[in-house]
């Protein structure tokens, strides 16, 4: 239950910064518009089998949930650098679980608060520019659990990144590399659905495509709702594997931790 309390406290904190949020939403929407305009121009030159509406939906969903992927707990990184993380070791909870709950709250609230207004506007945009309705009601229902599993997956990935930071103490190098891998392979930079087909066959098994790509494909109907359970199984496998890996890294780090400063 203590994890749940941590989770709730972080949720409240995330709700405090509304001004920054509005600026962030407008900025993110502008990026979405630029991307849709680019893909529309590309489609004008050479139409693809994948309809443009589906690409636009992909772009908007990626932009709306951008915050889920890139919102690192900067406080935590500072704690690692300053050595304050030693205080957290005194708490009567498992550190991995403690931070997992914190990161999840931040990602969930941060992305939901941005996603809801953005998606409303994206729905209002004209067809082919904005977001389209899901392929079917079942598709929408199938996408929601996938989105939740994706959230679990991205939190586990984030904790692995933090574990690396504990080793190197400099957040920028390794964290930068891992974040880039995430942005590229999760389809944020360029829709995974437009990658060469041979790449897609491999990439869809990567942990990164479980975050948003799988839920989006369920939403747009590219994965039939009937195949949803296969998708969930793959996602669940990665969640378990990544949490196990992350927890092992944290435990190893705890043994050899040297607290900085005095």
């Amino acid at each position: 239950m203590s994890y749940f309390t941590v989770f709730k406290m972080r949720l409240r904190m995330e709700l405090q910064y509304r001004g920054a949020m509005i600026g962030g939403i407008l900025c993110q929407m502008f990026f979405g518009l630029i991307l849709v305009a680019l893909y529309r121009a590309l489609y004008d030159s050479k139409p693809q089998t994948l309809p443009i509406e589906s690409v636009a939906t992909y772009v908007w969903l990626q932009q709306a949930f951008f915050r889920m992927m890139l919102a690192s707990d900067s406080e935590l990184v500072d704690k690692i650098r300053s050595g304050d993380i030693a205080y957290d070791m005194c708490r009567p909870v498992d550190m991995y679980g403690f931070y997992y709950a914190r990161i999840m709250a931040q990602k969930l609230m941060g992305s939901l608060m941005r996603a809801v207004p953005m998606l409303v506007v994206a729905f209002l945009l004209p067809k082919g520019w904005g977001m389209s309705l899901p392929s079917s009601f079942v598709g929408l229902l199938a996408a929601l659990p996938a989105l939740f599993l994706g959230l679990l997956c991205v939190c586990a990935l984030e904790n692995i990144t933090v574990a690396f930071t504990m080793k190197t103490l400099d957040p920028r190098g390794m964290q930068g590399l891992l974040n880039l891998l995430m942005i590229t392979l999760s389809g944020n930079l360029f829709p995974l659905t437009l990658f060469p087909e041979s790449w897609q066959r491999v990439l869809k098994f990567f942990p990164y495509s479980q975050l948003l790509d799988a839920p989006i494909r369920l939403y747009t109907g590219e994965y039939a709702p009937a195949s949803a359970f296969g998708v969930y199984a793959l996602q669940a496998f990665w969640v378990v594997a990544l949490i196990a890996l992350g927890a092992a890294m944290w435990n190893a780090n705890k043994k050899r931790m040297i607290v900085q400063g005095g």
Binding site: L26, F31, K46, G176, L177, L180, L189, F195, P196
Partner: protein, 266 residues
């Protein structure tokens, strides 16, 4: 000249301080390489799937991408004081110390920051330029080389000028204004591709307000012998100067804003 010497000396010192942690520096530089490499990969994937974009061939697209990444990251490399550090200078009150010294504030801000990690991004940009030039079969003449240099230099001034908008805002409101990123980083994302593919509102924004199209696309298109909108050759020489104009206007506004600067007192 004295100012320039001061600037070069400061940058040299900062560079040395960055190199004090070689492993961290190498890691970060590598991360930058992967980042810009990823952006370039997107263009390659686009060319692979779509072949051309409204009459622009793959080679043309690489050239446009290269000119943007070289200009943008040159600006970040040498103008880090404005592009990255300024809002925090205001927030923490570090700007106050600058006001007491017998040099221009802008000079000192520019002397105060550099970001040598960007060197790998610039390398990717140069690679894209070479690749684009080869694939587009550009017949280089001294005049074309001159236009390219002018275009990159003026684009750097333009980008610096646009980042100064954020600096000016941060003088008036201590909270940083995320919205300004829309024209700096948004401009970078949008204008990696030629302007004429976009709908009118976006075209107007990046031609009139943040004239990336004038400093980059007009000269680059002329270099590739595909003049943008069929404009005559002289425009390739004249329009990039708009970058300097933006910079001058923003510098003036920056100094005006500084007069209203109130220290945060912390």
């Amino acid at each position: 000249m004295n100012t320039l010497r001061l600037y070069i000396k400061s940058i040299g010192m900062l560079l040395k301080s960055h190199l004090q942690y070689p492993s961290s520096f190498i890691m970060q530089t590598l991360a930058q390489l992967v980042m810009e490499g990823g952006e370039m990969m997107v263009v390659i994937l686009i060319v692979d799937r779509f072949e051309s974009l409204k009459g622009w061939s793959g080679g043309n697209l690489y050239f446009f991408f290269g000119i943007m990444s070289v200009s943008f990251y040159l600006t970040e490399l040498f103008g880090r004081g404005i592009t990255g550090d300024f809002p925090s200078m205001v927030r923490t009150g570090r700007l106050d110390t600058f006001l007491t010294r017998p040099r221009g504030v802008l000079t000192q801000v520019l002397c105060g920051g550099t970001d040598p990690r960007r060197i790998t991004c610039i390398a990717v940009g140069v690679a894209a330029l070479i690749m684009g030039s080869g694939l587009s079969g550009i017949a280089w003449t001294p005049l074309k080389a001159l236009v390219l240099v002018e275009s990159i230099a003026m684009s750097c001034l333009l980008i610096l000028g646009l980042f100064m908008i954020e600096a000016i805002f941060s003088i008036f409101s201590v909270k940083s204004v995320e919205l300004v990123n829309a024209i700096t980083y948004g401009g970078r994302s949008a204008c990696q591709y030629p302007i004429d593919i976009y709908p009118l509102p976006l075209r107007a924004l990046f031609t009139v307000i943040a004239p990336f199209a004038l400093t980059m696309h007009v000269p680059a298109a002329w270099i590739m012998d595909k003049p943008l909108y069929g404009w005559p050759a002289w425009t390739a020489f004249v329009t990039p100067l708009s970058g300097a104009l933006v910079f001058v206007v923003m510098t003036a506004l920056f100094h005006l804003a500084l007069r209203h600067y109130r220290s945060t007192g912390s």
